[in-house]
Symmetry: C2
Subunit: 354 residues, 2 copies
């Protein structure tokens, strides 16, 4: 604490991201990165940008990228907002689109940055418990609220809700903004982007950090009615005129234009998720059905903390959330074949030793 | 306006940056970019990053970059904060370090993003008029305040205050944070970074967009006591865990490690500023003495708006601020020799035609 901080700074409880170890020997299955690299066309776009033009500011509106995303989702460019990672996009959405007159609603088990944003912007919130099997029960969100947000698939559970459920919610909730955080939707889910033309209060948030393998580059975007996007632009233009560098914009455009690479990468991850699910079940794990690139798992005989620590001692990093209801689970990112084999071999010896 | 925006969004008056024309034929002297490109070592660092590792998140604390900047200014890494352009750094400083109990103070003629940040964070402000000759009179800032901010050199005047003046202010103002925005300091000024060990409430903000020719990459940083930096980190970690991509961090590190290139570039810009000042005076312009990479100039016979329009008709972009006290001036970025020659030739024919 310092006498030079604004009053609210001491009350913040900053988000703590998963570790980013520098040792390349570590098998990193803790922050849901893609095991495969970005499209070679994105890499070429980056090297093509490494020239004298970097002395110039980027396009403040990232026009080419907005046009590209709009084409991809059959929307118009004024329905697209882009930012420096989906966390920045979410932050502006909490600030600009959620109201303080009623609590914002989100699940009790979800992305743990949501309550952090609420504290940053002095927004009250109410967490609605998932069902016992980690199902999101959207009918419980039809109550007075200052906004609604949930990931689909949810994190860290991986459970996916189909669009019918979300459309039912949107038919009921018309006075506040509903944000669907689709960070993991490309791994088998269907995007709510298709509902945007019918619901002015729907904001769909995506990232290029997971399915497009660009976590190291920080690019996120939102899709919604032009009036929602206009609100986000007003906040963004009061914060940072140029959130995306020339390189981020160019690499992102190239990624959307290389759909073959994208689809092949997704297929490999989905196949690995199925394989890994089967192998973990064989070892006695209970696996929450996942449509994301991670699995939330628990074992009847070994505690989650012990699994986490023993994997770590073998240079395999996974995530253990010491939070109610999920503290007996670990979350494992789906890796490539070699990483998944190393993981299951290590888990096998841990499980057999008890 | 939309019924889905938070209440404050409609009251925002977003910052409007200078134009970024796509036509390479335009001589762009409107947003104070460096006429010379970034260090070749920064460009190499970027191409070295264009690989599979981009699938991984960057270091959330940008440790290597903080270490590099700390070494450069003989500070410690916990006295360094980094962000996605100095605008993001300034936004977090307004939010986290300025108080709402008294107005924040800044000059009437200054960087026009400051009042925008105040509206974003609901901070009241009071603008203190510069003297007639555009001098910043810091003794007028010794009054109750929620924080003080000014650029040094000031923008868009280019006038520089030496450190004695600033140290005198810091001796008086001990209850609030003083932010010195040194975006242009490398073009001949001396940095206040040297005062940081003696004043816990001093924050010095820099950008790599001007002197280091990396506007297209979006990197800024702040230096101050570890308690100020800790406050900024708390805000940043409640907003976006990873504001700097792997590429931004690597290119910035390489820039600081290529001091020869940096100093040569600065020398060329400073020589051009002196030459251009002389030529403009010969054409009858009044030139505000500048320690930045731009000149604020006025002509007794041609209106600023007319100068702006006639330069524009000749594919030369400068900036004209339609604001009280400076509406008879244009701001011209110092270009390279060819750009400056084209500018003075065009201005010569404009001036001779009246």
């Amino acid at each position: 604490m310092s006498r030079y901080w604004s009053d609210f700074v001491n009350g913040l409880e900053p988000y703590i991201p998963g570790e980013q170890p520098l040792d390349p020997a570590v098998i990193k299955l803790n922050t849901n990165e893609n095991p495969y690299g970005p499209s070679p066309k994105s890499l070429k776009a980056i090297t093509d940008c490494a020239n004298q033009q970097l002395r110039l500011y980027p396009c403040p509106d990232s026009k080419e990228l907005k046009n590209t995303i709009a084409d991809y989702y059959e929307l118009s460019p004024d329905q697209i907002f882009v930012g420096n990672g989906s966390d920045e996009v979410l932050a502006h959405a909490f600030n600009g689109l959620f109201r303080k007159t009623q609590p914002v609603l989100f699940p009790d088990i979800t992305y743990s940055f949501y309550p952090v944003f609420c504290r940053l912007y002095d927004i009250s919130y109410h967490q609605i418990p998932l069902a016992e099997n980690f199902y999101l029960q959207l009918e419980q969100y039809c109550r007075p609220n200052g906004g609604i947000i949930f990931p689909n698939p949810n994190a860290p559970t991986g459970r996916f809700l189909d669009l019918n459920n979300i459309e039912n919610l949107l038919r009921e909730v018309t006075n506040s903004v509903v944000v669907v955080d689709e960070a993991y939707v490309d791994f088998g889910g269907a995007s709510c982007a298709a509902l945007i033309p019918n619901y002015d209060n729907l904001l769909v948030v995506h990232t290029l950090s997971k399915s497009r393998s660009l976590a190291g580059l920080r690019i996120g975007y939102a899709m919604g009615s032009s009036s929602l996007i206009n609100g986000l632009n007003r906040v963004k233009n009061s914060f940072n005129s140029y959130p995306l560098s020339r390189i981020q914009a160019a690499a992102a455009v190239a990624s959307f234009k290389d759909n073959t690479y994208f689809e092949n990468t997704i297929k490999k991850v989905v196949v690995s998720r199925l394989d890994l699910t089967g192998e973990l079940k064989t070892l006695g794990f209970e696996v929450v059905p996942s449509m994301a690139n991670f699995l939330l798992v628990t074992h009847p005989k070994v505690s989650a903390n012990s699994l986490y620590e023993r994997l770590r001692a073998n240079d395999i990093l996974v995530r253990h959330f010491d939070r109610p209801r999920i503290d007996s689970y670990i979350r494992i990112t789906v890796g490539n074949n070699a990483q998944n084999r190393a993981l299951t071999q290590c888990l096998s010896s841990i499980v057999k030793s008890v």
